[in-house]
């Protein structure tokens, strides 16, 4: 019996890897009177629905996709979360 499971994958540049997008956002903060805000990092979030027999098997599918496709393990880390809907 197949069911659907929805996940989010949040992908971020690895710690210590220069993040030019984060740096560009941070550079605009003084104009927003937000000079007290630092360490901006920009990543991306992918949401997807998986059809599978079990939550575990759905999770394995997302694990594999994240490592092989959605993120580049050399420079990015990711977190997978089960979400409703």
């Amino acid at each position: 019996m197949s069911a659907t499971f929805r996940f989010s994958v949040s992908i971020m540049p690895r710690d210590g890897i220069l993040d030019p997008a984060g740096r560009a956002v941070e550079a605009a903060l003084p104009q927003l009177h937000a000079s007290n805000v630092h360490a901006v990092r920009v990543g991306r979030r992918v949401e997807l629905t998986v059809e599978a027999d079990s939550a575990e098997s759905a999770r394995q599918t997302v694990d594999a996709l994240a490592a092989d496709f959605l993120a580049n393990p050399l420079i990015e880390s990711w977190e997978i979360e089960a979400i409703g809907g």
Partner: protein, 228 residues
């Protein structure tokens, strides 16, 4: 002699690359990314552009285009494969070349002329370049900063896999580690570079230095054919 130029949705240097191949003396065929044959081509070019919109990461989706299966087999047989700009990004994503091309550290899309030092002239991609000559070519990319962990960079250099480095006076335009502009795989039959040889293939364009890379490729096909 025939060179296949792969066309993805979003490729935009495919015709220029084919034109430069013809100038260098070979036949060129544009191969749509959904094909699963290379038209009996002797060598393959993955051209510049924004394959599949560069969504996710530049080259990440192109890696899974149907044509990439035969491109990989071609490379595994020892066939010559050249990735230019977005094509370089596609080949790193496909793990056919080492490294990652990250966002330019300048925070800008860099569209300008650069100078390249040629590290090796005994390769299929560089043997027609006269000794002592630096190449002038344009770049046009937002994600061209070559990156590998330090230890891997040491190995890459030790094994002679760095072919091109950005050189003065223009210097390093994108924050590439160790000024790297182009590399090969370990076997030496797959090459990627961020600058555009095809956009510097006629004096009218401001430089014909890029034609030396194309001529190297085409002459290498001829030599490999003669040896086979």
């Amino acid at each position: 002699m025939k060179v296949a130029v792969v066309v993805f949705p979003g490729s935009n240097c495919d015709r220029d690359a084919a034109h430069a191949v013809r100038l260098a003396g070979a036949e060129a065929e544009l191969v749509w990314h959904e094909r699963t044959d290379l038209g009996a081509a002797d060598a393959v070019i993955i051209p510049g552009g924004f394959a599949h919109g560069d969504y996710l990461r530049a080259g990440a989706i192109a890696r899974f285009s149907p044509v990439m299966g035969v491109v990989r087999e071609h490379a595994e047989r020892g066939g010559l494969l050249l990735g230019i700009c977005n094509g370089f990004q596609v080949l790193t994503e496909a793990r056919l070349l080492p490294g990652v091309l990250r966002r330019n550290t300048s925070l800008r899309f860099e569209n300008r002329w650069v100078r390249l030092a040629v590290e090796r002239r005994d390769t299929p991609f560089t043997h027609a370049i006269p000794a002592g000559v630096m190449l002038r070519m344009p770049i046009a990319h937002g994600e061209g900063a070559y990156w590998l962990p330090d230890a891997d960079l040491d190995r890459l250099e030790a094994s002679g896999q760095v072919l091109f480095r950005y050189a003065v006076p223009e210097g390093n335009p994108n924050g590439s580690l160790r000024d790297i502009a182009g590399v090969t795989n370990e076997r030496g039959n797959v090459c990627g570079l961020m600058p555009h040889p095809e956009r510097a293939s006629e004096a009218l364009l401001g430089s014909d230095d890029g034609l030396l890379v194309m001529r190297s490729l085409v002459e290498s096909i001829a030599e490999m054919g003669a040896a086979a």
